[in-house]
């Protein structure tokens, strides 16, 4: 059973549909018991980092997620959920993340060349940094995934599993630190490639 963390950030319909589509059982919940009982946890998220981090804290999910991650439970963050796994973000101020993966989230705009569009939105190809990572099982280098984001993870060289190039920026597409992993792109919106990645996580292949 996968627990999709429901902390009031974004729309979970497509994600739960895609998990059911690949045959994974899932529950959408913010209850401590469900998170503890789940074999794996997915932390989704759309919106602003600061708001999302506050909501996790208010629901007392930040400590719980850290505790469960430390116990070795596989945890996958998607989009903003991935960004929350890092140490901090500079989205509208400075906000602390869960600190489960070393790295810092920064805005794309100052690094991009003038005239480049933000958000980075659309299908972009993957370059593998850790081709043997289980998250990429069944995925080929050059496959396309769907991104929508204006901030990106930096200073996370050790965690990079796959990247995409947008203008002058190398975007952290998929990252991992032990049992904690994440994707900046939306696997639930990335067609067959995305479903393959979700399956890899759901079936536990993602554990190195």
């Amino acid at each position: 059973m996968i627990c999709v963390v429901d902390y009031g950030v974004g729309n979970l319909y497509s994600l739960t549909c895609s998990l059911r589509h690949i045959g994974a059982q899932c529950v959408v919940s913010k209850e401590e018991r469900d998170l503890r009982e789940a074999e794996r946890i997915i932390l989704p998220g759309v919106g602003a980092f600061g708001d999302a981090a506050d909501k996790l804290r208010l629901l007392k999910l930040d400590g719980l997620l850290k505790e469960l991650a430390a116990m070795g439970k596989p945890l996958m963050g998607i989009c903003l959920g991935m960004q929350l796994l890092f140490q901090k973000s500079y989205e509208y101020g400075e906000h602390a993340g869960l600190g489960l993966i070393p790295g810092v989230v920064r805005p794309l705009a100052p690094t991009l060349e003038a005239g480049a569009k933000v958000p980075h939105m659309g299908w972009n190809s993957l370059t593998f940094q850790q081709p043997k990572d289980g998250l990429l099982r069944g995925v080929r280098e050059g496959d396309y995934v769907y991104y929508v984001h204006s901030y990106y993870a930096t200073d996370c060289q050790q965690a990079l599993v796959a990247t995409s190039v947008y203008g002058s920026v190398t975007v952290a597409g998929a990252v991992r630190n032990g049992n904690v992993c994440g994707t900046q792109f939306h696997p639930e919106k990335s067609g067959e490639v995305g479903l393959t990645i979700l399956s890899a996580f759901a079936k536990g292949d993602a554990l190195c």
Binding site: N11, Y13, S14, C17, S18, R20, H21, V46, G47, G115, K117, V118, P119, H120, M121, G122, W123, N124, S125, Y144, Y146, V148, V165, Y166, E188, K189, S190, G191, E192, G194, L195
Partner: protein
């Protein structure tokens, strides 16, 4: 590398696609799920569902159709048509839409774009505008292209960008249905005014029209309806054709 996008647009009335795809292999040509799967398998990068249901009673049928599509097709879905307030955003997002496009609703309700962007994020709000030349100026038309608002399209799209729109669909009434190519002049004018991703609509007649379209760096996507549905242009073949020309395209295997 970020690709250019090809987007089929489907008109839906009372939960059924109005102009079905002309394809022998499909059993039910007006079933939204069948068509969405067909386009997904062809490599469409995104789908737009336009709700043209006239009555409020038909609205739940659209919601049900959208839910059914989102449960089986995992690419971005944009919904437009009859979006007049946040409650409409809420309704379609809950059914699996990723983006919502506003047209006349944003003209009637000046705060709609800003309010929606604040609540759901810029990436969720798409401005769709129907534009026609009037006395040498680009005018925004409302009510499905029937009513000249007198508003300057360039000013309108700039205002929408400032309000928080995340993307713009430019539908040229002048080239729509003519099938002699997209309105490159109009698209260029919009591209020079804003930094938003631009989706071009209106005028595609053949695959070469898309090749010409993507020579404009400011254009991110090409949207069409009837030429895809009639299969005069096949999405899979089109994408392969464009990829062979060196245009960044996501292609899928059979």
């Amino acid at each position: 590398m970020l690709t250019k996008r090809i987007i089929p647009c489907l008109d839906v009335r009372n939960g059924r696609v109005v102009k079905g795809v002309n394809f022998e292999g499909l059993r039910d040509v007006s079933d939204p799920v069948t068509l969405a799967k067909y386009y997904n398998d062809s490599g469409a990068d995104e789908l737009v569902f336009y709700d043209i249901t006239a009555s409020a009673e038909g609205r739940p049928l659209f919601s049900d159709a959208l839910k059914a599509v989102a449960a089986e097709v995992f690419i971005p879905l944009t919904v437009g048509g009859s979006i007049n307030g946040l409650e409409d955003f809420d309704r379609v997002l809950k059914c699996g839409a990723d983006k919502v496009s506003v047209n006349s609703g944003a003209i009637r309700h000046p705060n709609l774009i800003a309010d929606a962007a604040k609540r759901y994020g810029n990436q969720c709000v798409v401005l769709s505008m129907d534009v026609k030349r009037v006395n040498g100026q680009f005018h925004v038309f409302a009510m499905g292209g029937r009513e000249d608002t007198g508003m300057d399209a360039i000013e309108w799209v700039k205002r929408a960008e400032q309000s928080g729109a995340g993307e713009v669909v430019v539908n040229s009434i002048d080239t729509d249905g003519v099938r002699r190519g997209f309105d490159l002049e109009m698209l260029k004018a919009v591209g020079e005014a804003v930094k938003l991703p631009i989706i071009a609509s209106g005028g595609a007649g053949c695959r070469e029209d898309f090749a010409k379209l993507f020579e404009l760096p400011c254009v991110d996507a090409g949207l069409a309806a009837s030429i895809f549905h009639s299969r005069e242009v096949d999405v899979r073949e089109l994408k392969q054709f464009l990829a062979n020309l060196g245009i960044a395209m996501r292609t899928v295997e059979r």
